[in-house]
């Protein structure tokens, strides 16, 4: 890591270094960026909202959470366990999505950058 005192580090001017701006502008990279953001931003918003809903219910609707479902297992416990289920499900879904949709494209872009030196 070099040390400079300008507000931003100068970049892209070293001879022989990859042309990052060109790589960033390439259609493949733009597509990769679109796919990643198209997945992680909405999913993050979704699980945060779902978690917040659960926390709000636990805080302000304890009677609702105490609704019995099966023996002593109540709605609160089921919603809590569903937080586990949704966390595991999102994990599995992202791993599949990344393996199928992101990795081939990111490998392609990386090979173009590293091969083009």
């Amino acid at each position: 890591m070099s040390t400079t005192e300008s507000d931003e580090q100068p970049g892209g001017s070293t001879p022989g270094a990859p042309d990052w701006a060109a790589a960033q502008a390439s259609p493949d990279f733009q597509e990769l960026r679109r796919r990643l953001r198209g997945f992680v931003f909405p999913v993050t918003a979704g699980f945060l909202a779902w978690y917040l809903l659960y926390v709000l219910l636990a805080s302000f609707a304890p009677a609702f959470m105490a609704t019995p479902v099966l023996g002593n297992i109540n709605l609160g416990l089921i919603l809590g366990l569903l937080q586990f289920v949704s966390t595991f499900a999102i994990t599995v879904a992202y791993i599949r999505f990344a393996g199928r949709t992101l990795d081939p494209l990111s490998t392609k872009v990386r090979n173009e950058i590293e091969g083009g030196r």
């Binding site: 040390t3 100068p10 970049g11 790589a23 978690y51």
Partner: protein, 540 residues
């Protein structure tokens, strides 16, 4: 039932407990020594990140070992035993938090940094101020977390070894500190990682055994365990629904929401968690690490749900509250009730192992941040003749200093109520670190001023709000119960400090210089998404 449990704790055999503990310490030190002699090259990369040579699965176990502190094992099980459902609420926040790490942080961080959080933040910023800020925040979080763990070690001993008295507790804290320094000095990140992996296996296996054992006593009917816990509790079936711990007033409800937000957003900003992503060679392995960690951590918290209610059922809240460690003694007392002194000894040793693995992870993170960010890049401005040897030497010395500070701090704090320190560490991580990391990775316009605003703004607002909260003064349970200068009603500042830091990051960015070189962001974005130009893992 209560009498047999008390008899079992009285039977608690300190010699047996200490022997099991010694076997673990000597065994792990041997392994640390072995992996170090076999594999280590004395480079900075090797000391800080084991050369990025661990597999994703190995790192997933190490993350679980690093993350599941004694607070999550003993604290959550005890909270469920006493307060029922509300104890369970903690574990959900601790688990869901990992999705932030999985989706937004782990892979991009792996692709843009080498050793520390400062590496990522400084990628396209002015090196010295941003690294100094990153290191300040890293050291603050590590210090709070470390102090909580060390003070907890002292409280644990009175319970687990049947030893009480200030001197004995002080000795145990010192022993924990010395063993921790030994792990870090001998093994660096490689040794620390192995200790964390071993501890994760032991902890999860121990929890599994207790869970299955307890379930078998109730015909594998969880509802029956809940019923037995309610029958033995003054709170009765109130245990089954939320509200026993946090439902007392509007303030306590809002306080809980504040805690919940800090837990979910703090995990992906904890420096010792971030550093673990550098111990694997690629972003794909970092992704795999988080996947494995989520499965392990999720399973573990499901076990603690059973263990907590089983402790309520088989030990009872009265016996738990009368035990030396109070709430923290629920899981060990359940072990004694199930398997007698031998299982108690094993669970006690696992609890010690847990503390050791967590403090070693914190120590290496803090020392790496000091040596790499502060010493090399801020003090020496990156101009050191032999960077590698120098920073490893500085990091080792820092580890010793941190160890000594932790021992002294732990001994001084052992009679204080330090539970809030872990929540404080999460609040600082969520306020100072996470906004800055996310802006760096995803927002082109973000600049040095914005980074400084969000880090220092998050750190200072969190600390100020804590100082003027009921944790420090104005309540019976406060650190200074006689004084009253509290004006902030919540014990958890996250609800205010986290949005404030996100906002300050934006304000600072627009206050800062407009002159803007997009090419550095182009490099960062392309590298973060593709892994191009990443330092290759060292081949062992």
């Amino acid at each position: 039932m209560t009498t047999t449990v008390l008899a079992a704790t009285a039977d608690s055999n300190p010699v047996l407990n200490i022997s099991i503990f010694l076997v673990f310490v000597i065994g792990t030190l041997g392994i640390v020594f072995y992996v170090n002699n076999r594999q280590a090259k004395k480079t900075a990369a090797d000391f800080y990140t084991a050369g990025g040579g661990f597999s994703g699965t190995q790192n997933g176990f190490a993350i679980a070992g690093d993350y599941l502190s004694a607070a999550s094992f003993l604290g959550i099980a005890g909270a469920i035993a006493i307060n029922g459902y509300d104890g369970f609420l903690y574990s959900i926040g601790f688990l869901v938090a990992w999705l932030v790490a999985l989706l937004l942080v782990a892979e991009l961080l792996r692709n843009t940094g080498r050793f520390t959080m400062g590496d990522v933040l400084a990628f396209r910023m002015r090196q010295r101020p941003i690294r100094a800020a990153a290191a300040t925040s890293t050291l603050a979080v590590s210090f709070f977390y470390l102090l909580a763990q060390m003070a907890g070690a002292g409280a644990l001993v009175s319970l687990l070894l049947g030893i009480s008295g200030a001197v004995a507790q002080g000795v145990v804290i010192a022993v924990v500190g010395v063993v921790m320094i030994a792990y870090v000095l001998i093994g660096g990140m490689r040794g620390t990682t192995w200790v964390q992996m071993i501890k994760a296996v032991l902890l999860i296996a121990g929890a599994l055994v207790m869970t299955v054992w307890a379930l078998s006593l109730f015909g594998f009917n969880f509802s029956a365990i809940m019923q037995a816990a309610a029958d033995g509790s003054p709170k009765g079936e109130g245990l089954f629904a939320p509200g026993q711990q946090y439902g007392k007033s509007l303030t306590s409800k809002i306080d809980f929401i504040s805690l919940g937000i800090a837990l979910v957003l703090g995990t992906a900003g904890l420096p010792h968690v971030l550093m673990r992503f550098y111990t694997v060679p690629t972003a794909k392995e970092a992704r795999r690490s988080v996947e494995v960690a989520i499965w392990l951590i999720g399973l573990f918290y499901l076990f603690t749900l059973v263990i907590g209610f089983a402790a309520g059922a088989l030990v009872g809240p009265e016996a738990i509250n009368n035990a030396p460690g109070k709430v923290n003694s629920a899981a060990p007392l359940l072990a004694a009730a199930l398997g007698g002194p031998v299982l108690l000894g094993i669970i006690a040793a696992i609890a010690f192992a847990t503390i050791l693995a967590v403090v070693a992870g914190l120590t290496i993170t803090a020392s790496a941040s000091f040596a790499h960010d502060v010493y090399i890049n801020v003090i020496k401005k990156g101009e050191v003749a032999d960077t590698e040897a120098t920073q490893v030497r500085v990091a080792r010395r820092t580890a010793i200093v941190i160890g000594i500070v932790a021992i002294v701090g732990g001994i001084l704090a052992k009679d204080q109520n330090v539970a809030f320190l872990v929540a404080l560490a999460f609040a600082v991580a969520a306020s100072a670190n996470l906004p800055t990391i996310l802006y760096s990775l995803f927002w082109k316009r973000f600049n040095t001023t914005g980074g400084l605003y969000s880090i220092y703004g998050g750190l200072i607002s969190t600390l100020v709000l804590i100082i003027f909260s009921p944790v420090v003064s104005g309540a019976e349970t406060a650190i200074f119960p006689e004084a009253d200068f509290a004006w902030f009603p919540l014990a958890n500042p996250g609800l205010v400090s986290i949005p404030l830091s996100f906002l300050l990051g934006v304000v600072g960015t627009y206050v800062g210089q407009k002159r803007h070189d997009g090419s550095k962001y182009a490099e960062m974005e392309v590298r973060s998404l593709t892994g191009a130009g990443i330092a290759k893992a060292e081949v062992h």
